[in-house]
Protein backbone atom coordinates (compact mmCIF):
# COMPACT_ATOMS: atom_id res chain seq x y z
CA UNK A 1 0.00 0.00 0.00
CA UNK A 2 1.35 3.42 -0.94
CA UNK A 3 2.29 6.05 1.62
CA UNK A 4 -0.47 8.25 0.22
CA UNK A 5 -3.05 5.49 0.74
CA UNK A 6 -1.80 4.92 4.32
CA UNK A 7 -2.14 8.66 4.95
CA UNK A 8 -5.68 8.70 3.56
CA UNK A 9 -6.58 5.74 5.80
CA UNK A 10 -5.29 7.69 8.81
CA UNK A 11 -7.36 10.72 7.79
CA UNK A 12 -10.44 8.55 7.23
CA UNK A 13 -10.03 7.14 10.71
CA UNK A 14 -9.79 10.62 12.25
CA UNK A 15 -12.88 11.86 10.41
CA UNK A 16 -14.87 8.72 11.22
CA UNK A 17 -13.84 9.06 14.88
CA UNK A 18 -15.33 12.57 14.95
CA UNK A 19 -18.55 11.28 13.39
CA UNK A 20 -18.66 8.35 15.83
CA UNK A 21 -18.20 10.68 18.82
CA UNK A 22 -21.34 12.56 17.76
CA UNK A 23 -23.29 9.40 16.89
CA UNK A 24 -22.47 7.70 20.20
CA UNK A 25 -23.63 10.76 22.18
CA UNK A 26 -26.92 10.88 20.27
CA UNK A 27 -27.35 7.10 20.58
CA UNK A 28 -26.69 7.09 24.35
CA UNK A 29 -28.96 10.09 24.93
CA UNK A 30 -31.73 8.37 22.98
CA UNK A 31 -31.27 5.16 24.99
CA UNK A 32 -31.43 7.00 28.31
CA UNK A 33 -34.55 8.87 27.14
CA UNK A 34 -36.16 5.75 25.66
CA UNK A 35 -35.87 3.49 28.75
CA UNK A 36 -37.60 5.95 31.08
CA UNK A 37 -40.98 4.32 30.63
CA UNK A 38 -39.59 0.78 30.16
CA UNK A 39 -38.04 -0.56 26.99
CA UNK A 40 -40.22 -2.40 24.50
CA UNK A 41 -39.76 -3.42 20.88
CA UNK A 42 -43.05 -1.72 20.05
CA UNK A 43 -41.79 1.58 21.44
CA UNK A 44 -38.49 1.35 19.51
CA UNK A 45 -40.18 0.46 16.26
CA UNK A 46 -42.73 3.24 16.73
CA UNK A 47 -39.86 5.69 16.80
CA UNK A 48 -37.76 4.28 13.97
CA UNK A 49 -40.19 2.69 11.51
CA UNK A 50 -40.65 4.95 8.50
CA UNK A 51 -38.47 7.69 10.02
CA UNK A 52 -36.09 9.02 7.37
CA UNK A 53 -34.18 11.00 10.02
CA UNK A 54 -33.40 7.89 12.13
CA UNK A 55 -32.65 5.91 8.97
CA UNK A 56 -30.07 8.50 7.85
CA UNK A 57 -28.64 8.80 11.37
CA UNK A 58 -28.10 5.06 11.85
CA UNK A 59 -26.80 4.65 8.29
CA UNK A 60 -24.20 7.32 9.09
CA UNK A 61 -23.43 5.52 12.38
CA UNK A 62 -22.89 2.22 10.57
CA UNK A 63 -20.83 3.86 7.83
CA UNK A 64 -18.54 5.54 10.37
CA UNK A 65 -18.10 2.20 12.16
CA UNK A 66 -17.33 0.41 8.89
CA UNK A 67 -14.60 2.95 8.15
CA UNK A 68 -13.21 3.31 11.67
CA UNK A 69 -13.04 -0.23 12.98
CA UNK A 70 -11.03 -2.00 10.24
CA UNK A 71 -8.45 0.80 10.13
CA UNK A 72 -7.91 0.58 13.87
CA UNK A 73 -7.80 -3.20 13.68
CA UNK A 74 -5.19 -2.87 10.92
CA UNK A 75 -2.80 -1.20 13.37
CA UNK A 76 -3.59 -3.73 16.12
CA UNK A 77 -2.93 -6.68 13.79
CA UNK A 78 0.33 -5.13 12.58
CA UNK A 79 1.64 -4.25 16.02
CA UNK A 80 0.43 -7.20 18.10
CA UNK A 81 0.52 -10.06 15.58
CA UNK A 82 3.09 -8.72 13.12
CA UNK A 83 0.57 -9.22 10.31
CA UNK A 84 1.63 -6.58 7.77
CA UNK A 85 1.32 -8.41 4.45
CA UNK A 86 -1.27 -7.41 1.80
CA UNK A 87 -3.42 -10.34 3.01
CA UNK A 88 -4.14 -8.26 6.12
CA UNK A 89 -5.75 -5.52 4.02
CA UNK A 90 -7.73 -8.07 2.00
CA UNK A 91 -9.01 -9.69 5.21
CA UNK A 92 -9.95 -6.29 6.65
CA UNK A 93 -11.76 -5.32 3.47
CA UNK A 94 -13.83 -8.48 3.88
CA UNK A 95 -14.36 -7.62 7.55
CA UNK A 96 -15.56 -4.13 6.54
CA UNK A 97 -17.99 -5.66 4.05
CA UNK A 98 -19.39 -7.99 6.73
CA UNK A 99 -19.74 -5.06 9.15
CA UNK A 100 -21.55 -3.01 6.49
CA UNK A 101 -23.85 -5.92 5.68
CA UNK A 102 -24.93 -6.71 9.25
CA UNK A 103 -25.07 -3.02 10.19
CA UNK A 104 -27.25 -1.97 7.27
CA UNK A 105 -29.41 -5.05 7.73
CA UNK A 106 -30.10 -3.97 11.31
CA UNK A 107 -30.82 -0.37 10.27
CA UNK A 108 -33.28 -1.48 7.59
CA UNK A 109 -34.75 -3.98 10.05
CA UNK A 110 -36.02 -1.20 12.30
CA UNK A 111 -36.94 1.16 9.43
CA UNK A 112 -39.04 -1.07 7.19
Amino acid sequence: MSTRAQTLLWMAQRVSAAVLALCVVVHLATMIYAVRGGLTAVEILARTRGSIAWLLFYMLFVLATVVHLPIGLRAVLGEWLGWRSPSRDAALLLFAAVLAWIGMRAVLGVFL
Binding site: T3, W10, M11, G78, W80
Partner: protein
Protein backbone atom coordinates in the same frame (compact mmCIF):
# COMPACT_ATOMS: atom_id res chain seq x y z
CA UNK B 1 31.18 3.90 54.23
CA UNK B 2 27.77 4.04 52.64
CA UNK B 3 27.49 1.45 49.87
CA UNK B 4 24.96 0.88 47.13
CA UNK B 5 24.21 -2.41 45.41
CA UNK B 6 24.42 -1.95 41.66
CA UNK B 7 23.02 -4.63 39.36
CA UNK B 8 24.59 -4.24 35.92
CA UNK B 9 23.59 -6.07 32.73
CA UNK B 10 26.41 -8.27 31.42
CA UNK B 11 26.41 -9.99 28.05
CA UNK B 12 24.56 -9.30 24.82
CA UNK B 13 20.93 -9.94 23.97
CA UNK B 14 21.26 -12.89 26.32
CA UNK B 15 22.99 -12.30 29.60
CA UNK B 16 22.39 -11.63 33.26
CA UNK B 17 22.70 -8.93 35.86
CA UNK B 18 25.93 -8.87 37.85
CA UNK B 19 25.96 -7.17 41.24
CA UNK B 20 28.61 -4.77 42.50
CA UNK B 21 29.01 -2.78 45.69
CA UNK B 22 29.86 0.84 44.99
CA UNK B 23 30.68 3.57 47.56
CA UNK B 24 28.09 6.31 47.64
CA UNK B 25 29.15 9.95 47.38
CA UNK B 26 27.43 13.31 47.40
CA UNK B 27 26.21 14.50 43.96
CA UNK B 28 27.18 11.13 42.44
CA UNK B 29 25.73 10.40 39.02
CA UNK B 30 24.78 7.01 37.59
CA UNK B 31 27.60 7.45 35.08
CA UNK B 32 29.99 7.95 38.03
CA UNK B 33 28.78 4.61 39.40
CA UNK B 34 29.37 2.78 36.12
CA UNK B 35 32.77 4.42 35.72
CA UNK B 36 33.72 3.37 39.26
CA UNK B 37 32.83 -0.24 38.45
CA UNK B 38 34.80 -0.21 35.20
CA UNK B 39 37.88 1.48 36.68
CA UNK B 40 38.13 -0.27 40.04
CA UNK B 41 36.00 -3.42 40.12
CA UNK B 42 35.78 -4.94 36.63
CA UNK B 43 37.76 -3.48 33.74
CA UNK B 44 35.89 -5.67 31.22
CA UNK B 45 32.61 -3.77 31.65
CA UNK B 46 31.63 -2.14 28.35
CA UNK B 47 29.75 1.16 28.36
CA UNK B 48 29.74 4.34 26.31
CA UNK B 49 30.16 7.98 27.24
CA UNK B 50 32.00 11.07 26.05
CA UNK B 51 31.18 14.56 27.33
CA UNK B 52 29.81 13.81 30.85
CA UNK B 53 27.85 17.09 30.78
CA UNK B 54 24.65 16.25 28.89
CA UNK B 55 25.71 17.41 25.45
CA UNK B 56 26.86 14.40 23.45
CA UNK B 57 23.97 11.99 24.02
CA UNK B 58 26.16 8.89 24.23
CA UNK B 59 25.66 7.67 27.82
CA UNK B 60 21.94 6.82 27.84
CA UNK B 61 21.06 3.58 29.65
CA UNK B 62 18.07 1.97 31.29
CA UNK B 63 18.17 2.80 34.98
CA UNK B 64 15.68 0.96 37.20
CA UNK B 65 13.65 0.20 34.06
CA UNK B 66 13.60 3.79 32.79
CA UNK B 67 15.69 5.19 29.93
CA UNK B 68 17.84 8.08 31.19
CA UNK B 69 20.97 10.07 30.37
CA UNK B 70 23.26 8.72 33.07
CA UNK B 71 25.69 11.64 33.22
CA UNK B 72 22.96 14.00 34.43
CA UNK B 73 21.03 11.50 36.55
CA UNK B 74 21.94 11.71 40.22
CA UNK B 75 22.03 8.49 42.20
CA UNK B 76 19.88 10.22 44.85
CA UNK B 77 17.11 10.54 42.30
CA UNK B 78 16.94 6.87 41.27
CA UNK B 79 18.29 4.74 44.12
CA UNK B 80 15.74 2.51 45.85
CA UNK B 81 16.62 0.66 49.06
CA UNK B 82 20.29 1.37 48.30
CA UNK B 83 19.97 -0.53 44.99
CA UNK B 84 20.17 0.47 41.33
CA UNK B 85 19.63 -1.67 38.25
CA UNK B 86 21.46 -0.55 35.11
CA UNK B 87 20.74 -2.10 31.70
CA UNK B 88 21.32 -1.13 28.06
CA UNK B 89 18.72 0.92 26.18
CA UNK B 90 15.60 -0.95 25.06
CA UNK B 91 14.63 -1.27 21.36
CA UNK B 92 18.25 -1.40 20.17
CA UNK B 93 20.52 -4.44 19.65
CA UNK B 94 22.92 -4.93 22.53
CA UNK B 95 26.55 -5.15 21.46
CA UNK B 96 27.91 -5.92 24.91
CA UNK B 97 26.97 -5.06 28.50
CA UNK B 98 25.64 -1.48 28.44
CA UNK B 99 26.58 -0.67 24.83
CA UNK B 100 23.85 -0.74 22.19
CA UNK B 101 24.19 -0.63 18.42
CA UNK B 102 22.82 2.80 17.43
CA UNK B 103 23.04 2.20 13.66
CA UNK B 104 19.32 1.58 13.11
CA UNK B 105 18.48 4.62 15.23
CA UNK B 106 20.59 6.94 13.06
CA UNK B 107 19.75 5.16 9.79
CA UNK B 108 16.15 6.09 10.51
CA UNK B 109 17.16 9.76 10.74
CA UNK B 110 18.49 9.41 7.19
CA UNK B 111 15.33 7.57 6.10
CA UNK B 112 13.27 10.45 7.51
CA UNK B 113 15.35 12.82 5.36
CA UNK B 114 16.85 14.30 8.51
CA UNK B 115 19.52 16.32 6.73
CA UNK B 116 19.14 19.91 5.65
CA UNK B 117 18.61 20.46 1.93
CA UNK B 118 19.04 23.83 0.28
CA UNK B 119 19.38 25.42 -3.14
CA UNK B 120 21.38 28.34 -1.76
CA UNK B 121 25.09 28.71 -2.34
CA UNK B 122 27.86 30.48 -0.46
CA UNK B 123 27.37 33.39 -2.86
CA UNK B 124 23.85 33.98 -1.54
CA UNK B 125 23.26 36.34 1.34
CA UNK B 126 22.26 35.08 4.79
CA UNK B 127 18.67 33.95 5.15
CA UNK B 128 16.97 36.12 7.75
CA UNK B 129 14.75 34.20 10.17
CA UNK B 130 13.60 36.57 12.92
CA UNK B 131 13.24 35.01 16.41
CA UNK B 132 9.57 36.00 16.48
CA UNK B 133 8.82 34.13 13.24
CA UNK B 134 6.20 31.44 13.99
CA UNK B 135 7.97 28.73 12.00
CA UNK B 136 11.27 29.51 13.66
CA UNK B 137 9.65 29.33 17.11
CA UNK B 138 8.50 25.80 16.32
CA UNK B 139 11.96 24.86 15.10
CA UNK B 140 13.54 26.36 18.23
CA UNK B 141 11.20 24.30 20.43
CA UNK B 142 12.40 21.03 18.90
CA UNK B 143 15.97 21.65 17.76
CA UNK B 144 17.97 20.86 20.92
CA UNK B 145 17.89 17.07 20.44
CA UNK B 146 21.22 15.46 21.37
CA UNK B 147 20.44 12.11 19.73
CA UNK B 148 20.72 10.12 22.96
CA UNK B 149 18.10 7.53 21.97
CA UNK B 150 16.15 7.82 25.25
CA UNK B 151 12.89 8.60 23.41
CA UNK B 152 13.47 5.72 20.98
CA UNK B 153 14.07 3.37 23.88
CA UNK B 154 10.98 4.60 25.74
CA UNK B 155 8.67 4.29 22.71
CA UNK B 156 6.26 1.34 22.73
CA UNK B 157 5.44 1.79 19.04
CA UNK B 158 9.12 1.18 18.17
CA UNK B 159 8.93 -2.05 20.17
CA UNK B 160 5.77 -3.18 18.33
CA UNK B 161 6.68 -1.90 14.87
CA UNK B 162 10.39 -2.23 14.11
CA UNK B 163 10.03 -0.18 10.90
CA UNK B 164 8.69 2.84 12.78
CA UNK B 165 11.06 5.78 12.34
CA UNK B 166 10.75 6.73 15.99
CA UNK B 167 10.37 9.99 17.90
CA UNK B 168 13.87 11.40 17.40
CA UNK B 169 13.99 10.99 13.61
CA UNK B 170 10.48 12.42 13.24
CA UNK B 171 11.31 15.30 15.58
CA UNK B 172 14.35 16.06 13.42
CA UNK B 173 12.23 15.94 10.26
CA UNK B 174 9.77 18.39 11.85
CA UNK B 175 12.54 20.93 12.51
CA UNK B 176 13.36 20.76 8.79
CA UNK B 177 9.74 20.89 7.63
CA UNK B 178 9.38 24.15 9.57
CA UNK B 179 12.75 25.50 8.39
CA UNK B 180 11.94 28.03 5.68
CA UNK B 181 15.39 27.61 4.14
CA UNK B 182 14.96 23.88 3.56
CA UNK B 183 13.91 22.72 0.11
CA UNK B 184 13.09 19.02 0.56
CA UNK B 185 9.37 19.87 0.89
CA UNK B 186 6.94 17.15 -0.14
CA UNK B 187 9.73 14.59 -0.61
CA UNK B 188 10.39 14.73 3.12
CA UNK B 189 6.67 14.52 3.93
CA UNK B 190 6.48 11.37 1.80
CA UNK B 191 9.44 9.94 3.70
CA UNK B 192 7.87 10.46 7.11
CA UNK B 193 4.21 9.59 6.31
CA UNK B 194 2.40 6.29 6.62
CA UNK B 195 2.63 3.10 8.66
CA UNK B 196 6.35 3.45 9.41
CA UNK B 197 6.16 7.21 9.86
CA UNK B 198 4.27 9.80 11.87
CA UNK B 199 0.91 8.06 11.42
CA UNK B 200 2.08 5.10 13.48
CA UNK B 201 2.43 7.30 16.61
CA UNK B 202 -0.25 6.54 19.22
CA UNK B 203 0.50 9.68 21.24
CA UNK B 204 1.50 7.67 24.32
CA UNK B 205 3.82 10.60 25.18
CA UNK B 206 6.55 8.32 26.58
CA UNK B 207 9.12 10.16 24.45
CA UNK B 208 8.00 13.52 25.76
CA UNK B 209 7.98 12.30 29.34
CA UNK B 210 11.48 10.81 29.10
CA UNK B 211 13.31 13.31 26.87
CA UNK B 212 16.18 14.61 29.01
CA UNK B 213 16.14 17.89 27.06
CA UNK B 214 12.44 18.40 27.82
CA UNK B 215 11.56 18.40 24.14
CA UNK B 216 8.20 17.12 22.92
CA UNK B 217 8.65 14.77 19.98
CA UNK B 218 4.93 14.04 20.39
CA UNK B 219 4.11 17.65 19.49
CA UNK B 220 6.51 17.49 16.54
CA UNK B 221 4.88 14.28 15.30
CA UNK B 222 1.43 15.88 15.65
CA UNK B 223 2.73 18.77 13.54
CA UNK B 224 3.95 16.32 10.91
CA UNK B 225 0.53 14.63 10.84
CA UNK B 226 -1.08 18.01 10.16
CA UNK B 227 1.47 18.90 7.49
CA UNK B 228 1.07 15.54 5.74
CA UNK B 229 -2.74 15.75 5.90
CA UNK B 230 -2.67 19.21 4.31
CA UNK B 231 -0.33 17.98 1.57
CA UNK B 232 -2.64 15.00 0.94
CA UNK B 233 -5.69 17.28 0.71
CA UNK B 234 -3.85 19.48 -1.77
CA UNK B 235 -3.03 16.38 -3.82
CA UNK B 236 0.72 16.88 -3.38
CA UNK B 237 1.52 13.69 -1.52
Amino acid sequence: MNLIQVHVWRGGAKGAFQSFEVPRHASQTVLDVVTHIQRTLDATLAYRYACRVGMCGSCAMTVNGVARWTCRTHVDKVVKNDQIEIAPLRNLPVIRDLVTDMREFFDKWARAKGSFESDRTRQDDFAVLPPEDENRKQVDAAIECIGCGVCYSACDVVAWNPDYLGPAALNRAWTLVKDERDTAGVARLRAIAGDAGCHACHTHLSCTERCPKQLSPTASIAGLKRAVALAALRGEL
